[in-house]
């Protein structure tokens, strides 16, 4: 089989100017400054665009360069725009677009809200971008069966709000839950603070409708557990759009807890906070959430959000326990005593729903708060055994000193899921290089400790060059065989998850380009 060359979609579209120079990994600021040829504004849609318009309607296809520019980035970075953006309203629309793409051998990339942090929805080679913002219906709410059926464009939080009056919610709660879509959650197997107790997206998805690259539609699972056959639902969740495009999702709804206690433990030393996390785990207490924020980060948050974190502390733990009144009371008391044992300066319990919301608002808006104090930042997603947290945080501090970069830490401590945030100015080439090296060193340490390079953000394009550090060639080969079953030509979400390999349809990333930014 031959390696597929980049189909000349640009010339097909008659748009030789559009993102023609692949601005891979260049600083995000460039698109505003770049001068575009004036000829763009007089362009006419090509035959290709006209065909897509005939499938979806005039209002569902974007092709003008100024429109495409909005879709050249996601939560990772800005690379290059897609060649055309479509907005299907139904599974049938998706099927038609996919069949059309298959007949022309065009790349197809799905996108929800574009909040992903690993570049999973970046059309970094161009192609057709399918945006799900018009497939946002909650198709069915079935409280007695504790299930809901939704389209992929439904926003995560909107589902919880829709079932809130019945006393239910959808458990996975990524920090971007006000914006991110369930389709994106499924693609990346998203997590969130409360997945410590309830599990990540894959533990809450029972069935999918999937469009394969041939245009064939398959249904996996349903409202019930244990459907006979291979667990294709579990395989598709987290496959980052490289096996199929999800057009419908059946999820599990959880009953809201009777009561919740939210604790804030304040520390004068980071190591005491990390030791507390290890001690809580070792005692077998599983809080619903157990988050850590270091002093640097909490000060940035406090200035932006006024969440009530003490400005002079070295670290805080945000701990939540929920369940039956009796269980919450017992667990909260145990946790308070562990915190005090581990030298917490203060342990405070939120007295009202407002106080609790404020504490969480600070946590969930943290990345935005850091954006106020730095031109750019790079968030990592490594995972380590929880017992190694004290050692790891010290290591991250040393890495920051070694590479002269500022690193904040705000993360899902109870899961051992780190989110070191490295601040930098992308216009400073030397600093960008140091950031890359610091990041690599932290992830290498995660692997050395028996951990992983990503706990919830996905591999995307950001971490593909790290995959060989975690997996052997044989491991990756068996995964590629699965990709070969569903997406043999690599038309769906090309260049994601796997490092360049021998299989057809794989794309080679330019040496040194992968990894960061």
């Amino acid at each position: 089989m031959t390696v597929r060359r980049n189909v000349d979609i640009l010339s097909l579209l008659g748009q030789q100017g559009v993102g023609g120079r692949a601005n891979r990994y260049s600083p995000p600021l460039r698109s505003c400054n770049q001068r575009r040829p004036a000829v763009w504004y007089f362009m006419k849609p090509t035959a290709l665009v006209r065909e897509l318009v005939s499938i979806l309607g005039r209002d569902a296809v974007l092709w003008r360069p100024e429109d495409l520019m909005l879709y050249e980035y996601d939560g990772l970075s800005s690379l290059r725009p897609p060649d055309v953006v479509v907005f299907p309203r139904s599974t049938e629309h998706v099927v038609q677009v996919v069949k059309f793409a298959a007949s022309r051998k065009l790349w197809v990339v799905p996108r929800g809200a574009g909040t992903g942090l690993s570049g999973g929805s970046l059309p970094w080679q161009g192609g057709i971008l399918i945006v799900f913002s018009r497939m946002k219906d909650i198709l069915e709410i079935d409280i007695e069966n504790q299930r809901a059926r939704v389209q992929p464009g439904v926003v995560n939080l909107d589902l919880s709000l829709a079932v809130s009056d019945d006393g239910y919610y959808f458990a996975p709660d990524p920090s971007s839950q006000k914006a991110c879509t369930l389709g994106g959650n499924v693609a990346e197997n998203a997590g969130g603070p409360h997945t410590l107790l309830y599990g990540v997206t894959t533990n809450h998805v029972l069935g999918l409708e999937v469009v394969l690259p041939t245009g064939e539609v398959i249904h996996t699972g349903g409202k019930f557990w244990d459907p006979p056959g291979y667990d294709l639902t579990g395989l598709f969740v987290g496959s980052e759009g490289t096996l199929g495009i999800v057009t419908e999702i059946t999820v599990r709804l959880m009953r809201k807890a009777e009561t919740v206690a939210t604790l804030l433990a304040v520390y004068d030393r980071v190591v005491d906070a990390t030791r507390t996390v290890a001690a809580i785990t070792a005692r077998g207490i599983t809080p619903a959430a157990l988050e850590m924020i270091d002093g640097f980060t909490l000060r940035a948050i406090e200035e932006a959000t006024h969440a009530g974190y003490p400005m002079d502390s070295a670290a805080v733990l945000l701990i939540e326990v929920e369940g039956l009144r009796e269980a919450v009371e017992e667990n909260a008391l145990q946790i308070e005593s562990v915190c005090q044992e581990k030298m917490a300066r203060q342990v405070r319990r939120a007295k009202s729903a407002e106080e609790r919301d404020l504490l969480w608002k600070g946590r969930k808006n943290a990345f935005g708060a850091l954006g106020r104090i730095s031109p750019s930042y790079y968030v990592q997603d490594g995972v380590i055994p929880r017992t190694r947290l004290p050692e790891m945080l010290e290591f991250i501090g040393q890495v920051g000193t070694k590479y002269r970069v500022k690193i904040g830490n705000i993360f899902h401590a109870g899961d051992g899921n780190l989110h070191p945030i490295i601040l930098f100015d992308p216009r400073d080439a030397d600093e960008s290089r140091r950031v890359r090296e610091a990041a690599q060193e932290i992830l290498a340490k995660c692997i050395e400790m028996g951990g992983s390079i990503t706990g919830e953000h996905g591999v995307g394009i950001e971490k593909i060059n790290l995959m060989p550090l975690l997996f052997t060639a044989d491991d990756l080969d068996m995964m590629r065989k699965i990709k070969g079953v569903f997406n043999p030509e690599g038309l769906f979400n090309p260049g994601k998850v796997f490092p360049a390999g021998k299989m057809c349809g794989e794309l080679r990333i330019e040496a040194g380009a992968g990894g960061v930014l």
Binding site: E144, R147, G167, G199, V200, T202, N203, L212, I218, H219, T220, G222, K223, F224, W225, D226, P227, P228, G229, Y230, D231, L232, G234, L235, V237, R255, A257, A278, T281, A282, G284, G323, L324, E326, A327, E330, V383, R386, T387, D415, G416, G450, G451, S452, T454, G455, E456, V459, M467, F471, T472, D474, L476, D477, M478, M479, K481, I482, K483, V485
Partner: protein, 450 residues
Amino acid sequence: MTTAHDSVHLALAAIVGESHVVSEPTACAAIAVGGRVPQYIVDPPTAESVAAVLKFAADRDLAVIPRGNGTKLPLGSPPRRYDLALSLKELNHVWHYEPADLTTSVEAGMKLGDFQDFLGGEGLWLPLDPLGGARASIGGILATNSAGPLRLRFGSPRDMVLGIKVATTEGKLVKSGGRVVKNVAGYDLCKLLVGSYGTLGVIVEASFKLFPRLARRATLVLEPGTLGLARDLRRRILNSPLGPLCMVLFNTEASSLLQNGPPAGDAQGLELWIEVGGSPRILERHARDLAEMGRSMGVPSRQLNEQMAESCWLRLRDYEQLFADSFPDVMVLKATLPIASSEEFVSFAQQVAEGEEVKMASFAQVGVGIVHLGLWGVKLGAAADRLVTNARKSAASLGGALVVEQYPNGFNAERDVWGPSGNHLEAMRRLKAAWDPKGVLSPGRFVGGI
């Protein structure tokens, strides 16, 4: 011993050592699957040698069925062919144990009972009560995603596995996931392999997240009398903040089987058993609220004494054995349904059973939507086919599915164990072909003849 061995035996011995290969006919006959007898039994001493044996089998086109302790082998269709029994009993080590981190890695051949004893030293456990109970091996539990009533609270093996190591027919050992509790790097092969019934690869090792043992456990029995009341009760419990460990609804036949005698209670004898766990205060709250719910609906309740409860749950967890002891020709059906349909399915099934004049014991995990039916006195042939077809129709009409877990000799199992598959069967076949191109792993045992 001076028996002359054939070339396959000698080649296997060269891979795993002579003491790990058996081709003696009576030993082979003792581990027949679905009536088929293998020619060789191999118990490789290491994961690497499991992979080597698999490669050899693929090269020589020998059909292989992996086995742990054999408790799950009655499940699934009979194999199309069977040459080599690949026993994992030698792989019974715990490779990694970090009690403070609540994680462990264990080999597939270890028996659940031994594993729990090992974990118990640190006050931890794997909250699973699969078919076969303590005798079930870790590998078998994963291959069949086997979970009992505890699933209501803790989920199934699918939810507890952090990583796996698998031997492939190419003779390789590949891994997915890891030892940390959150990991999304690469495809989730754990999900694909768990519940694949040994048709894609052989799981040789798995990492789990562990849980602290519960301080105390107690069992309450409510006697709703009718399925309608049982349904209302289930609704109230699931809509309450209570978090029971298990909830199983037994019909009269089931509870007398379990308790070894006539059940207490009224004529219909429906009993809803609810196990709860935690501190004394949590148990007390559950007991109070559940009794109150019962009272408000006119449903009597009682607390089972601890010893009785424990022995009954143990017997239930080993239900295949329970049936086999009393009714050797039993047929066991498992329906998987939307939660709200369990009671209705039991009612349908009762009618179907009465129509065929067979006895039926039903164990319904009403909070999960899984119902097991034990049927005895089933006439083979048209009657058995009708029984399965009608029960399957009922499950399908309620939005679920039905598989035959155990069947008497003579039942048309090739056709009927799994029932029809959806429109994803072709994708499953291609996955099978990608991982096992020669079709040597458990051929014909799975859905759609995979």
